[in-house]
């Protein structure tokens, strides 16, 4: 397993390099630049600005300097749109926000989705099953950009229970709506997946064996059925979790959380190259790390996977 982990880690560097080079050139293909504006800068001013940010150098030199600064100083460069800030600084402020509500959203997804799925499976074809399936389908077809405004109308405008947006240092009342709005459709997904796989597992031979041995139903569910039944959920949650903690543009903009989700879109619109590249690297690292953790978790859960590592 250690060997496997090390091998995987070694692939990060070349993958990242390819990604950086590819993204770097791709970004520059888009017409316009960070300093293109309604009022074109006079040539002398433009020349100064480009020089200041090193954008007057040939592209390959810029790329080399960029990579060098990351390797030597862990410096992702200055932000072109927020001129008092560096990319490191913007990410350092925004990422904890996204991480916080993404984490709570994932907790919400799992804490509600898994029990709902299990209950539905255990009470197969009952009132509980139908209401859970109904609820799941209902939440899944409700995209967050519909759900979020409804939540704000109810919880903020009508009942005055929660603030309509903002972050305020991450107080709990500011986290609830972003986390729930972000997670609801995934929660439904998790519930349906859990239900399906639980039903399958419960009818498999090893559960029959456990029943035949006379084990209590409780033990069968918790000790024997839960782990294999969660495998599809885990597969599903891996990418979803990356998505959640890297921020949703919609949630960030709508709830004004100050998270990094919106930086990606803003960066693209404003051609803030260093911001875009910095975020791309962050996202890739997160995706990579979480995928690795996920694979290790598979191995922990499934002996068949473990033996192949």
């Amino acid at each position: 397993m250690l060997n496997y982990t090390l091998r995987r880690l070694l692939t990060v560097v070349p993958t990242l390099l390819v990604l950086i080079v590819f993204s770097f050139y791709l970004m520059r293909l888009a017409p316009g630049g960070p300093f293109t504006s309604e009022r074109p800068l006079p040539p002398a001013v433009m020349a100064n600005v480009l020089e200041r940010y090193g954008l007057d150098e040939p592209l390959h030199v810029q790329l080399f300097t960029y990579i060098k600064n990351i390797v030597l100083h862990f410096d992702f460069g200055p932000s072109f749109s927020q001129k008092d800030r560096d990319v490191n600084d913007v990410i350092a402020q925004g990422f904890p926000v996204t991480l916080t509500y993404g984490f709570w959203s994932a907790v919400f997804v799992l804490a509600c989705g898994i029990p709902l799925g299990i209950i539905a499976a255990l009470r197969h074809n009952s009132f509980w099953d139908y209401s859970m399936t109904g609820l799941a389908i209902f939440s899944q077809i409700f995209p967050n950009f519909v759900l979020a405004p409804i939540m704000v109308l109810l919880f903020t405008l009508s009942w005055g229970l929660l603030p309509g947006g903002g972050w305020n240092g991450g107080q709990w009342e500011y986290i609830i709506m972003p986390a729930v709005a972000l997670g609801t459709s995934y929660m439904a997904g998790v519930a349906r997946l859990t239900r399906g796989s639980f039903l399958e597992v419960m009818s498999s031979p090893f559960i029959r064996t456990a029943r035949a041995k006379g084990l209590p139903e409780r033990t069968i569910i918790i000790r024997h059925a839960l782990k294999p039944a969660l495998l599809p959920t885990l597969t599903y949650m891996g990418p979803v979790f990356v998505y959640m903690i890297t921020g949703s543009v919609f949630i960030d903009v709508f709830f004004s959380t100050g998270g990094i989700g919106q930086d990606f879109i803003d960066g693209a619109y404003s051609r803030d190259y260093s911001m875009l590249l910095g975020l791309t690297i962050l996202y890739s690292l997160l995706t990579f790390t979480l995928n690795l953790l996920l694979d290790l978790a598979y191995a922990w859960i499934d002996p068949k996977v473990r033996s192949k590592l």
Binding site: E51, S81, S256, D266
Partner: protein, 538 residues
């Protein structure tokens, strides 16, 4: 050198002086206990550094935290800021400002003329590379252009401080409206010691030193910024608002929801919602004139051959029923435009251009006549071209309405094409269009900020219109004491030649809580200062 005194009017009247510079609370008003003003901003600020900041919302914050030579009053007129008055030399090339002796930085140091010299030299310094360096060129300060181009050191800038309370500015050409330009953020003083100590990070709440009515106390990127009153500010006794909070709310509709929930005191009204909100909140919904225009520009240099014919350009302009666009589509109190310069611009009298006085039916008839004369439309060739605009729902609506009018009235075929903002700017800037959307907001309250756009050397003249008479009139206006007839003549030429089709002049639609008083609703630049506001108990 003989100096002509140009004491600003506020100085001539002591009462006016004290009443226009700070919050003027009537005796009958009961102030609210909590003097916090919270407002919505859409995007994160580009910077808090006066010489670097760009954009309207950034300038608003910087204006609260720093004070320049002059401030603007509720009408947009200059009132003393750090400077009390100024004199101008006979040749209109030297401005001497007298600074007050009680102005202080938030760390207690006195604000001196040297702080302005440093700031202005900084603004043109190629090393700082401020995108706003062009503003110093626009102000015609001696050597500004050469310094920006790297040909001279920034110490050669035409600005000096003979003593701590005198600032002398040397211009490269007379500029009658120079004093109107010194309430702009780029011209605010800068604290050299703080910048030297902290570099780019000097604008962080823990490092910043400022000389305005407020100091920055908190800044959470893309979430909020908080500024509290500056006890060192010379007029702090007359400031009422204790704390100003900006909340970043990217979504306009969400801004309105949070306004309804009482979380913000001011927000922008989403497009098309002004009439209903005005009915619902008659005392809180405002449509304020704004110094911005919206126009279609013809590519007269490399566009379709037909656009080289002024009759075609006129016909297309005449056929647009502007009131449909302002009253039925936009519905936000915009003004139909027949001149390039908004009527609200200072010292600008809207000249009587012929087509503005006609009824729409007359304009439509004239449009047909002109187009036929030019050989298009009925009995002639079908006129067809592309119209380019940047992706936005409003621009799309305007484009559809305008092209429908052309189609129905003149039989003109227009293909609509939209592009993402920066792609659009690049396409338009390279003249790869037939007709394109344009809009311009004044940098200062004077007609030249608009009309200069249509002169031959202007870098923003994307349609490449060129008329020697317009150029010479605009050059003459730079040094003339009476610019009104010159600008009127330029507008008349523009109405005849129609290089651009003025569509409407903007308005700002805002919701402002009725507890907030002192808002300068008559200031067309919407230059507001938190220190002039106060909150009444409700």
């Amino acid at each position: 050198m003989k100096h002509r005194s140009l004491l600003i009017p506020a100085l001539l009247s002591g009462t006016l002086l004290s009443s226009v510079q700070a919050a003027t609370v009537p005796d009958s008003a009961t102030l609210a206990d909590d003097q916090t003003f919270t407002y919505r901003v859409m995007d994160e600020f580009s910077s808090f550094d006066p010489q670097v900041v760009e954009g309207v919302v950034g300038a608003e914050v910087v204006r609260d935290m720093f004070e320049g030579l002059y401030n603007q009053d509720a009408e947009g007129k200059n009132v003393p800021g750090v400077a009390l008055s100024h004199t101008v030399s006979d040749d209109n090339m030297t401005y001497t400002f007298t600074l007050r002796d009680n102005a202080k930085w938030s760390d207690g140091k006195p604000v001196t003329a040297g702080d302005f010299v440093y700031a202005w030299q900084r603004a043109v310094d190629p090393e700082l590379a401020s995108p706003y360096a062009w503003y110093m060129e626009l102000m015609s300060i001696e050597n500004a252009s050469a310094i920006i181009a790297g040909d001279k050191p920034n110490t050669d800038l035409g600005v000096s401080a003979p003593d701590d309370h005198t600032l002398v500015v040397q211009l490269s050409q007379p500029l009658p409206y120079f004093d109107k330009m010194v309430s702009h953020a780029t011209t605010f003083p800068a604290p050299k010691w703080a910048i030297d100590a902290h570099g780019k990070e000097w604008t962080r709440p823990e490092n910043i030193v400022s000389n305005g009515a407020y100091v920055l106390t908190e800044h959470v990127l893309k979430e909020r910024s908080v500024r509290k009153r500056n006890p060192m500010y010379w007029d702090n006794d007359n400031t009422v608002i204790e704390k100003v909070v900006t909340l970043n709310i990217g979504d306009e509709a969400q801004g309105l929801t949070r306004y309804r929930a009482g979380e913000v005191d001011k927000t922008e009204i989403p497009a098309g919602q002004y009439p209903t909100l005005k009915d619902e909140f008659p005392d809180e919904a405002y449509a304020l004139p704004r110094l911005c225009n919206y126009y279609f520009t013809f590519n007269v240099a490399s566009g379709p051959e037909a656009f080289k014919d002024a009759r075609v350009r006129q016909a297309l302009s005449y056929a647009i029923d502007r009131s449909v666009i302002t009253d039925a589509v936009l519905q936000g109190g915009q003004f139909p435009a027949f001149t390039f310069t908004p009527g609200a611009t200072a010292n600008f009298e809207v000249p009587e251009v012929e087509y503005a006085t006609m009824t729409q039916a007359e304009r439509d008839a004239k449009a047909k006549e002109l187009l036929t004369e030019a050989g298009y439309g009925e009995g002639g060739e079908t006129l067809s071209f592309n119209y380019l605009y940047n992706t936005s729902e409003t621009h799309q609506q305007v484009a559809i309405v305008a092209t429908q009018m052309w189609k129905q009235k003149l039989g003109v075929d227009v293909t609509l094409e939209n592009q993402e903002w920066k792609v659009f700017l690049e396409t338009r800037g390279n003249q790869n269009f037939d007709m394109a959307r344009g809009a311009w907001c004044g940098d200062y309250n004077e007609a030249s900020t608009f009309l200069d756009l249509l002169t031959t050397p202007s870098g923003y003249n994307d349609g490449k219109y060129s008329n020697a008479k317009v150029d010479s009139l605009m050059t003459e206006a730079k040094s003339s004491q009476d610019t009104t007839p010159l600008y009127a003549e330029v507008e008349k030429i523009l109405a005849d030649e129609m290089p651009v089709v003025p569509i409407y002049h903007y308005s700002t639609n805002i919701m402002l809580d009725s507890a907030i008083q002192g808002w300068p609703i008559n200031n067309v630049e919407q230059t507001w200062y938190s220190k002039d506001l106060y909150k009444v108990a409700q």
